[in-house]
Symmetry: C2
Subunit: 317 residues, 2 copies
């Protein structure tokens, strides 16, 4: 990227330029420039309120996000949305570019939307997403929404990065959903059962309540909100529950603790990525055909060969 | 675990004991003993044919797996199934224990089923799963099936670890599925459109074909098989396509290449986990409250602090 003056871009972003903001995020995502950009903005950034929206495919997360943003948006407020899209394992790029399904919000000057790729070895949330959220804090967003598509690592991670996590489900999605719900129930600050007009609503709500009964350690009981986002139903209640959760966090002192935990996670993330890149680089430069043959022909096991390589690479001491 | 003599367990497993096999996998999963166990078995293990079954929640993967196993199973053959379940982010344990949905197979003496947790920093497939597959190879399984629940990292990874990847979809699952499909289309050696009696079959097949048209680099064209697993429909054709793909890999010499690539991945995985554990250990031992406060109160940015910590920790040189 030639002729990019980061300081100028940062100054434009701080004056409210969406274009500069978008460009800074692109520089982070495509040219790994977070390391240069973050030191320029950290003093300007505030703590935006961060909301995570996650859940399995097909439950209507994008529609819910759209309606929720319109419901939360007040005068003089700015909302940023980072939509995490699955990464193609081969091209490395995100699938969607700017999200078609959120396009109604794109023309709203109070809303900034950005698709991010989910690549990165920690799973759902990449280092670039962490950095983009910092940019949006400096861009003066009151609220930042991170939406993930997927079931797995991304749900686990989002909770480490936002203040309020919405786990969106929908009625009657079969066995896998039941399992998945059991696996990630703990991450929900608020359960949203969207498509509440579909068959199976009661069973889904019962399943959630059963899961909660087993969870004796928690004082906070995550509320369950039924919505039909496409018809704008249930959004007021959802907004109220989000406000309640925020007040709970603030009054209990947990918001601060949570945000400091988030920074620890971020620190770990950075160190981890740095070292991971280092391993990748060294690994790729190595001639390992012979070592692989040793395993392939059952001369040695892979642990033994890995130990040899660690010594050979001199990565750690 | 007291009084465990690994060599005795390995000997029992090699003589065909399911109990010893299960215990070895438990020792790997719960006590991280892969490093001790693998050197004891690598000379006995053969190359099992590995099939990956993956796809989003709700498409009926477990039922398909069950029916496919029954279809593939021949006299004197053994099939191992590793079912990767989502990990609870809090308990760290897998959700399901032994899979309820696969229980019809549990009583079959030619089938060995095991649930594995998906924890592990590389996403869907943990180091323990890699080790468990080695155990099943030594246990003399002709075929090993790895089934994942999830959308994301696990799909990307499974392809690096199996010979034939089945990507299971089902008709009419909404927007997210469309995106997801576009993102992971390349991983499929065979597309399975299960629940083929549901509305939207034609559109799903068209979507897949459209995706394939864009993929000009590949000589091998992944076939699309429609199934209704619960009614045992389409299983014969699926079996045939798996056999065809295997023959294609063998005749083109790609099977060997693929397996060597798999070993490289495994090696990288081992080195990566080793170093990651090291970072975790050091990170946890550190007093970082002050460093976190520096970021929280906007004195420094996290990249700068991370650099300080890397120097402080002395992890790399």
């Amino acid at each position: 990227m030639k002729n990019v003056d980061l300081k100028t871009l940062v100054a434009e972003m701080l004056r409210g330029s969406e274009i500069a903001t978008g460009r800074l995020i692109s520089l982070i995502e495509n040219y790994d420039l977070g390391r240069e950009i973050l030191p320029l903005i950290h003093k300007s950034s505030k703590h935006s309120y961060m909301i995570g929206i996650t859940g399995p495919p097909g439950v209507g997360k994008s529609t819910l996000t759209e309606k929720l943003v319109l419901s939360l948006l007040e005068k003089d407020m700015k909302i940023g949305i980072l939509a995490i899209d699955p990464t193609s394992p081969f091209s490395g790029g995100a699938i969607l570019g700017d999200r078609i399904r959120l396009q109604k919000l794109i023309t709203n000057p109070q809303v900034f939307i950005r698709s991010m790729a989910s690549r990165g070895h920690l799973g759902g949330i990449s280092a670039a997403t962490l950095d983009a959220a910092k940019i949006l804090e400096a861009f003066n967003c009151n609220i930042i929404i991170i939406e993930t598509v997927g079931v797995g690592q991304s749900e686990v991670e989002i909770v480490q990065y936002v203040d309020t996590t919405l786990l969106v489900l929908s009625p009657g999605q079969g066995d896998d959903i039941q399992i998945m719900k059991a696996g990630i129930m703990e991450i929900a600050d608020i359960f949203v059962v969207n498509k509440a007009d579909h068959e199976g609503l009661e069973r889904t709500i019962t399943d959630i309540k059963m899961g909660q009964m087993n969870d004796n350690n928690s004082i906070y009981q995550a509320p369950i909100v039924s919505t039909i986002a496409k018809d704008n139903k249930g959004l007021d209640e959802l907004k109220l529950k989000i406000i309640n959760h925020r007040e709970y966090l603030e009054n209990s002192g947990k918001l601060k603790t949570k945000r400091k935990e988030r920074l620890k996670f971020e620190l770990f993330h950075r160190i981890y990525n740095r070292i991971n890149n280092q391993i990748h680089g060294k690994f790729d430069s190595l001639e390992i055909e012979e070592l692989v043959d040793d395993i392939y022909f059952k001369k040695k096991d892979s642990y033994t060969v890995a130990e040899e390589m660690i010594r050979l690479l001199g990565i750690t001491h």
